[in-house]
């Protein structure tokens, strides 16, 4: 698993989103973070977090999300 992958499986929301917010600054602007999360709220909340914080949701499946840091 690369450094830009966050394994938040088994965590309840909002924990996966908090981890994502903490770790997004670990990558350069334009690079991506992969989030693995199986809480049912992770899908809508990752999309909402990207919209609210101004990042890009590149890919979204039921338990895997790829976010590009935009600023």
């Amino acid at each position: 698993m690369s450094a830009a992958t966050l394994d938040c499986r088994g965590m309840k929301c909002p924990r996966p989103i908090i981890e994502l917010a903490r770790r997004i600054t670990d990558v350069e602007v334009g690079e991506q973070v992969e989030l693995l999360a199986d809480d049912p709220a992770a899908g809508p909340d990752t999309a909402a977090w990207c919209r609210m914080r101004g990042h890009e949701l590149v890919e979204s499946t039921t338990s895997q999300f790829v976010v590009r840091r935009l600023h």
Partner: protein, 364 residues
């Protein structure tokens, strides 16, 4: 319950009303009260009194509306079209009827009319369901356009008026086949729901019935509670507009205040085209259960659509369908007596509570 409704309920019990199907005096009085309650509901929604059926809750009314149309139109097909943000009672009834088609909504919660038109015009649609206004976020649906599409397609429409009745004038509403409502939403007993089935609609009781309520809902109706529900509805029809105008200003104040004072808050729903009494927002990085409990400790009883706060595996399907943040969610339902001072007090306690909960998880 509203004080007027509670007084009506107590008076009904003291009067000792009997079984409305019996011919003794107590029975006749009960039958009379039941007829009056039907007339009140009928006038509020632009229907005939004999089209009104009382049920033990809004959930029962929704189940009966959808299942009854699906049964009456089973030769047409078993497909039921709803929006993605309908009440869970409607969604589960649609799924139980056969094939459930959920039409998407925009960021404000408003149904995608193009997709709606296509879905209701498809083959095999037994019924379509729409809310006047959403029960979680308050957004008003483009009801007239959606109903017109059903009319063109010849598909009966179930209109869920639960959150709108008493707030939106439905006394001349047309285009629906079955309308549902719930007294708990307008200050009546939670144990009273109703469905209004237009004459000539192909609805069949999807359960065993008897002589009560013209064989549309079984068992003796709870006339005292129904009388209290009608009293509450009358009060709302009388004061609703004035109360609504006041609530609208208070919710506008809340929307602006939360936006200014709470960073990273997602204030949800249509800011203008909405019922006046509801406001929903979500705060990033906060869990809904802690937020609800902290607000309760500060004296504010609020609801939440976050999964953790409702003992559910899944977050609110309404928030998810709208693309709104589902964690840290709070839903405020203003009552008839909510004051401006209470709103200001809420705006004072909320920011430090959110800040404290964020600090606990290192997101200060």
């Amino acid at each position: 319950m509203l004080p007027d409704a509670r007084a009506a309920w107590l008076a009904a019990h003291e009067a000792g009303w009997g079984d409305p199907l019996r011919l003794h005096r107590a029975g006749r009085l009960a039958a009379q009260a039941l007829d009056q309650a039907r007339a009140t509901v009928a006038a509020a929604v632009g229907a005939r009194a004999d089209e009104v059926v009382f049920t033990p809750s809004g959930v029962h009314a929704s189940h009966a509306a959808v299942a009854g149309l699906a049964l009456g139109r089973r030769r047409v097909g078993d497909r039921v079209v709803t929006t993605a943000v309908d009440h869970s009672a409607v969604l589960s009834a649609a799924a139980a009827a056969g094939e459930h088609v959920a039409v998407g909504v925009d960021r404000l919660g408003r149904v995608d009319l193009e997709a709606w038109r296509t879905s209701v015009a498809a083959e095999g649609v037994a019924a379509a369901c729409l809310q006047v206004a959403n029960h979680e976020v308050g957004t008003v649906q483009p009801y007239a356009e959606a109903a017109a599409a059903c009319g063109t397609a010849g598909v009966p429409l179930v209109l869920d008026a639960s959150s709108a009745l008493g707030r939106v004038d439905l006394s001349r509403s047309t285009g629906w086949s079955v309308l549902t409502g719930w007294a708990g939403a307008f200050g009546g007993p939670v144990s009273v729901g109703f469905l209004v089935i237009r004459k000539g609609v192909r609805w069949r009781a999807p359960y065993l019935v008897d002589d009560y309520q013209d064989a549309r809902w079984p068992g003796p109706p709870d006339v005292a509670s129904i009388h209290a529900a009608a009293t509450a509805l009358e009060a709302y029809l009388r004061y609703g507009r004035a109360v609504g105008e006041r609530q609208r200003v208070l919710v506008d104040r809340l929307r602006a205040g939360i936006g200014e004072r709470v960073p990273d808050a997602d204030v949800v729903g249509d800011p203008v085209d909405r019922v006046p009494q509801l406001l929903t927002f979500s705060a990033l990085y906060v869990d809904g259960e802690s937020l609800t409990l902290e607000l309760d400790r500060a004296g504010f009883a609020v609801a939440s659509g976050s999964a953790c706060s409702v003992n559910s595996e899944h977050p609110s399907h309404v928030l998810a369908a709208m693309g709104a943040l589902t964690h840290g969610n709070v839903r405020l339902g203003l009552t008839r007596s909510t004051t401006s001072a209470e709103i200001e007090a809420f705006l004072d306690v909320l920011p430090p509570i959110v800040a404290e909960l964020r600090a606990r998880v290192g997101m200060a």
